[in-house]
């Protein structure tokens, strides 16, 4: 075991894959000379050269579209959008090109791209740099969508994402980059589509991912002191979704909530809640609860921003309501 920050773990995973496979190239704004604003590719330019570590102009639509062409030609581009909010200026190559190309060509092509993007509120970045847009991506058939929380998961899943032949949206929470955690020594992979029970429990299932995992674990401790034993399931991967793990947990506890940082309306929680009530209705002791961000724009002012997205106390309160305690 060694201790690494989440950003260093991502860097290590990316580095290992670039060493292993010369077709892996990274491109995005400020990736080469600067080594990315979150220092993910620091030192890569010297090691891999400018053809594999590409500083693009501020042309998200252009370079994201380029990545599609590169992938169709056999490369494995790892694209970084500086913020997931910037998807608005390059949605076409993601949604209409990368996601659909394989299907539309009747399976002729593979588009193995990893779209990395920081997500999340809490950094006082206001309305255009704070969103969690998982739900927007999961709505698009053809994309895989993952959002690991821990350093170990981030590294192992990034390696799997790069090796996947499908386009994968890989979402990293800005406020987790600096988190130091233990990761296994040596090379290891974590498959996409496998949830991880970060805290077993019997009274209540909390389905969550990314930074809300930590908030959920904190809430679970509070609940434990009140005699409520919550199981915290880190979904990690939203497409594919680990339904078997969700099912087993819901059948064990009978009470379930989805905790997410994205907006409540049309969120992942809505989707999972619908799936659970359709498939596991008879296992439910209460309606599936959602804890999510308000349906508002991320405000700038700190007290306003804190009121906008879920915190541990919100999760605890939701658990009380759910369990009628």
């Amino acid at each position: 075991m060694s201790t690494l920050t989440v950003s260093k773990a991502i860097r290590e995973g990316l580095h290992e894959e670039m060493v292993r496979d010369k077709n892996v190239v990274v491109l995005g704004e400020d990736m080469a000379v600067m080594g990315s604003v979150f220092a993910i590719t620091q030192g890569f330019l010297d090691e891999f050269g400018p053809l594999r570590v590409i500083d693009t102009p501020i042309s998200e639509s252009g370079f994201t579209g380029m990545a599609v062409g590169m992938a169709m030609r056999g490369l494995r581009p790892v694209v970084e959008w500086m913020y997931d909010d910037f998807i608005t200026v390059c949605l076409d190559p993601v949604m209409n090109q990368a996601a659909k190309m394989r299907y539309m060509t009747g399976g002729q092509v593979k588009v193995p791209i990893v779209f990395r993007a920081p997500i999340g509120a809490g950094r006082r970045n206001a309305g255009q740099h704070s969103q969690c847009l998982e739900a927007l991506f999961t709505h698009i058939p053809g994309l895989k969508v993952v959002a690991p929380a821990t350093a170990a998961d981030a590294k192992g899943m990034l390696k799997s994402a790069i090796r996947s032949d499908d386009p994968v949206v890989f979402l990293e929470h800005k406020l987790l980059y600096a988190k130091k955690e233990e990761i296994p020594d040596g090379e290891y992979m974590i498959p996409l589509g496998k949830a991880d029970i970060k805290r077993p429990g019997k009274d209540l299932t909390i389905l969550t991912w990314s930074r809300q995992l930590y908030f959920s674990l904190e809430a679970a401790e509070t609940l434990a002191s009140q005699g409520i034993d919550a199981e915290v399931v880190d979904l990690r991967s939203l497409v594919p979704l680990d339904w078997e793990t969700i099912k087993a947990s819901v059948q064990k506890t009978g009470n379930v909530m989805v905790v997410e940082e994205g907006a409540r309306r049309g969120g992942i929680g809505a989707e999972i809640a619908a799936e659970i009530q359709e498939e596991l209705f008879d296992d439910l002791d209460a309606p599936v609860a959602r804890v999510a961000a308000a349906n508002v724009v991320s405000p700038f002012s700190p007290p306003l921003e804190d009121a906008m997205f879920p915190h541990p106390a919100d999760i605890v309160a939701a658990a009380h309501k759910l369990l009628a305690k």
Binding site: G254, F281, D282, D283, L284, D285, A286, K321, A324
Partner: protein
């Protein structure tokens, strides 16, 4: 292909019925439309008719068994036809002694989850599933979830506290927790020579449950007032002579209807933390039957003329005795009148017919000597009326004023008609 005989649904709130008596034996030939068995439900005894020609191949639910609506009672088919083991939905029929057998899917059992008072039961899907697995009748469980929803813990608690009958007890069958609708303690009473045991079923079970619930839930007060009915009886004779067969009970019903309009505070129901103020004077009218008691309802009794009211009361009573009431004719009362006068009862404490807040007991008429204003003594007829009310909702003075209005009306019978 054999035809299944199923428990019919005879009223909106009917959940189950009891097999009273098979009119045919296995092997008997039957014709479509021919009565083949009798069932009793909450309130009624009905005949079930054969749906097809053939022979009664098999009786699945035997006499005394409770069967949910749409549950299997038996089969009609051609002689020699095989039914039973391979037949679908075999016997969700009560067999309450074997809750394990209830794991077999019995969708019909879930079709009408309604409490005995007709309200929809709120229960979580998981709680319902567990209740089924454990054989807990959730209709009698109180929910502790949001809005009173029954959740898993409530079912577990109910199962925990359910009486456990010793295996050897003769009354074991009746003691099983799945006996829908009742939760009377099992005392394992010692049987003495000549005693017989029969199952609490049908109307008796419903009466037992309703009387028990009312008496446990309601803090009752009974106030008795004496009414001078001399003028009333004279008035009745007058009516009779002019060809109108009006009973004392009819006049009482009319007077009560009128008094209730004047005292709407008597027309209330309690639902949790809510008091429901009733808009209609729907008079329940207790009718004694050989097998129990039923309370048909005269809707909007205050809007009926004395004659119409009398006709309605007569019609309901007759149809109640001949078991012909529609399911909706014994529901929705807002006040009830119970008359034991014909049996010579001088006074009694009636039990409130929930969800009403009060019930008026009517007693016999007696002769009494009364000193008139001029000092002479004369014979009068008097009758006591006994009002029981729910003291959670109605206080003594309010009830007394209502009773005085009833008395005044009965003592000045012309006012009843005005």
């Amino acid at each position: 292909m054999a035809t299944e005989i199923k428990m019919p649904q005879l009223g909106l709130t009917m959940e189950e019925g009891t097999v009273e008596r098979w009119l045919k034996a296995e092997g008997d030939s039957v014709k479509a439309g021919e009565p083949i068995l009798e069932i009793t439900t909450d309130k009624l005894t009905n005949e079930v008719e054969a749906e097809a020609d053939g022979v009664l191949l098999k009786i699945v639910a035997h006499e005394g068994e409770d069967v949910p609506v749409k549950g299997l009672l038996g089969y009609i088919g051609q002689p020699g036809e095989q039914v039973g083991a391979s037949a679908p939905a075999a016997a969700p029929a009560a067999a309450p002694a074997a809750p394990a057998a209830q794991e077999a899917p019995a969708p019909a059992q879930e079709a009408a989850p309604a409490a005995k008072d007709g309200r929809k039961i709120r229960i979580s899907p998981l709680a319902r599933k567990i209740a089924k697995q454990m054989g807990v009748d959730y209709a009698t469980v109180t929910g502790t979830g949001p809005s009173g929803r029954i959740i898993k813990r409530d079912i577990l608690a109910a199962a925990e506290s359910a009486p456990k009958a010793p295996a050897s007890a003769p009354a074991q069958k009746a003691a099983a927790p799945a006996a829908a609708g009742t939760a009377f303690p099992v005392k394992n009473l010692e049987l003495m020579e000549g005693d017989t045991v029969e199952k609490l079923t049908g109307m008796r079970k419903v009466v037992a449950q309703r009387m028990y619930t009312s008496s446990v839930e309601i803090p009752p007060v009974t106030q008795t007032v004496k009414v001078d009915v001399t003028a009333l009886l004279a008035f009745r004779r007058q009516l009779k002579e002019s060809g109108h067969a009006i009973s004392v009970n009819d006049l009482v019903l009319k007077a009560v209807s009128k008094a209730l309009r004047k005292h709407p505070e008597m027309l209330v129901s309690l639902d949790g933390e809510q008091v429901i103020r009733r808009a209609h004077v729907n008079l329940g009218m207790a009718v004694a039957l050989d097998t129990g008691l039923i309370v048909p309802v005269i809707r909007d009794a205050d809007l009926l003329s004395l004659e119409a009211l009398s006709a309605k009361a007569k019609d309901l009573a007759e149809r109640a005795r001949s078991n012909q009431l529609g399911a909706d004719e014994y529901k929705g009362s807002t006040f009830t009148v119970s008359n034991l006068g014909m049996f010579g009862v001088e006074s009694f404490t009636p039990i409130i017919n929930q969800p009403d807040a009060a019930i008026l007991g009517v007693n016999c008429t007696e002769d009494e000597l009364v000193m008139e204003a001029d000092g002479t003594i004369s014979k009068h007829q008097v009758m006591r009326i006994s009002l029981t009310y729910d003291h959670r909702l109605v206080d003594g003075a309010v009830a007394a004023k209502f009773e005085m209005t009833v008395r005044d009306l009965l003592e000045s019978p012309m006012d009843i008609l005005l």
